[in-house]
Amino acid sequence: MMRQEFARDIASLDAVFGFMRRFADEERLDARASYVLNLAVEEFFTNIVKYGKGREGGVLLEAVRSGGTVTIRLEEETSVPFDVTRQTVTQFDTPFAERKPGGLGIHIAREMLDGLAYDYVDGTSRITLTKHLES
């Protein structure tokens, strides 16, 4: 298992990707699984940064592999819970000229992951991402 806390800032992304690369190397993840996990982590991390401006404290990232499944958790202390599993994107029916990318990242991540869960307990918001590895 690997854990690391990151400053709540888009500039942290380089370090976040470095963390993910070390985890992928250690667990010998294939290129596809690695891409999916990187993308999902980036989308949820940037969401936390974007909607958590002014909040103190960092974002804790935890990655673990158990057999053929990888689980990544993103945790933050916040008084404002936001259940990402309830976020929907319906822009596909919007005319091209009016289409905006909002919500797209969460949609892509959900489609590529095998599991997405959210819980909020005692001021801690936690997003759990699951990806089954191809054997």
Partner: protein, 94 residues
């Protein structure tokens, strides 16, 4: 590591990882496009929704004048991201 440049033939060349920390730089280059152009993805390893947003805004701006960007040489994973986002209906992808 991400880089974006326009080569002598006017092709926009993307390299590396196009993530949310790179959008300002990419927007600057795409803002310079006035006509239809090709964007070469051959050396692009990764793109997220942040990169898609920059491309979408560029396509919307160019289409107003009847122009467009065409995307070429995408790797399989990047192409999958475009399909899931249904951006394969917005861009010509070769």
């Amino acid at each position: 590591m991400f880089s974006i440049s326009v080569n002598d033939e006017g092709i926009v060349v993307l390299t590396g990882r196009f993530d949310a920390s790179q959008t300002d730089r990419a927007r600057e280059v795409f803002a310079g496009l006035r006509n239809s152009a090709v964007v070469d993805f051959r050396d692009l390893d990764y793109i997220s929704s942040a990169g898609l947003g920059v491309l979408l805004a560029t396509q919307q701006r160019l289409k107003k004048d009847g122009n467009a960007i065409k995307l070429v040489h995408m790797n399989r994973m990047v192409r999958d991201v475009f399909k899931i986002a249904r951006f394969d209906l917005i861009f010509e992808i070769e």
